[in-house]
Amino acid sequence: MDDTRAARLIGTVLRCYPARWRRRHGDEAAELAALLVRDGTPAGSIACSYLAGAAREWLTPLPGRRLSAAACALLVAACALGVSTVLLAPPAPARAASTSQAKAASTSQAHCRTARCQPGPAVRVAGVISSVSHDLRAIISEAGHGQPW
């Protein structure tokens, strides 16, 4: 790889760093890379090192960012909990929230009498887990590892 292409590659990789890092180390890092290339270090390995450094730089929380990272983690956990609660919630209470309960109940019963009721989301999830578990046990048993769990 010639010097121009190497410099372009390094320049591209250095742009992956956060702006504050580039302001502080950008020029020096480019010069250091040029010196290492001149010494015979492959430009690809320098680029890989800078790329890994850029990833670390983005992933390492700054002291001021710790609180916001913790807040984000709590928000994600709350969202995950909400989604799983919705998935596992029995369908009946949701219908009971209707203002015309008696009418809704009688309509629902009539509907169940005339048509076969489908299982709710919670029953479906439990069924999937049960069937996957059964399949896994069968596979392990066939492989000769039929020890009790």
């Binding site: 180390h25 020096e28 890092a29 010069e31 010196l35 390995s45 320098i46 090192s49 800078y50 450094g53």
Partner: protein, 114 residues
């Protein structure tokens, strides 16, 4: 955040968790102030370890945040770094700890006869 202010306890090995690259950089800077390229060259001669530039800058930033090194005014585009007094003290504690572990290891090897 300087080590002295954060830990307060003298004799604690604060370098135990900073990684090998940071320790090698401190050892290199213990001789004289150096900039990035000179550090890479010196560490290569000293320990046979070729530090990648990404690793180097990550370690320099960490050590500077800990107050173990400080950057000097830029010469041309290069920033030389210098070890601080807490940095020298931390390096001394870490090397003492390594020496104790090394001596124990050698003793055990001698006793076991392997």
């Amino acid at each position: 955040m300087a080590v002295g202010r954060r830990d307060g306890r003298a004799g604690q090995d604060v370098l135990r968790r900073v990684g090998e690259a940071s320790v090698l950089i401190l050892i290199s800077l213990a001789g004289e102030p150096r900039h990035g390229y000179a550090l890479i060259q010196d560490i290569k001669e000293l320990a046979g370890v070729e530090l990648g530039p990404g690793t180097l800058y990550g370690a320099l930033d960490r050590l500077e945040r800990l107050g173990l090194i400080e950057s000097l005014p830029a010469e041309d585009r290069r920033h030389p770094y210098r070890i601080t007094a807490p940095g020298a003290a931390a390096l001394r504690v870490h090397l003492d700890s390594l020496e104790r572990v090394s001596a124990a290891g050698r003793l055990r090897l001698r006793l076991s006869g392997t």
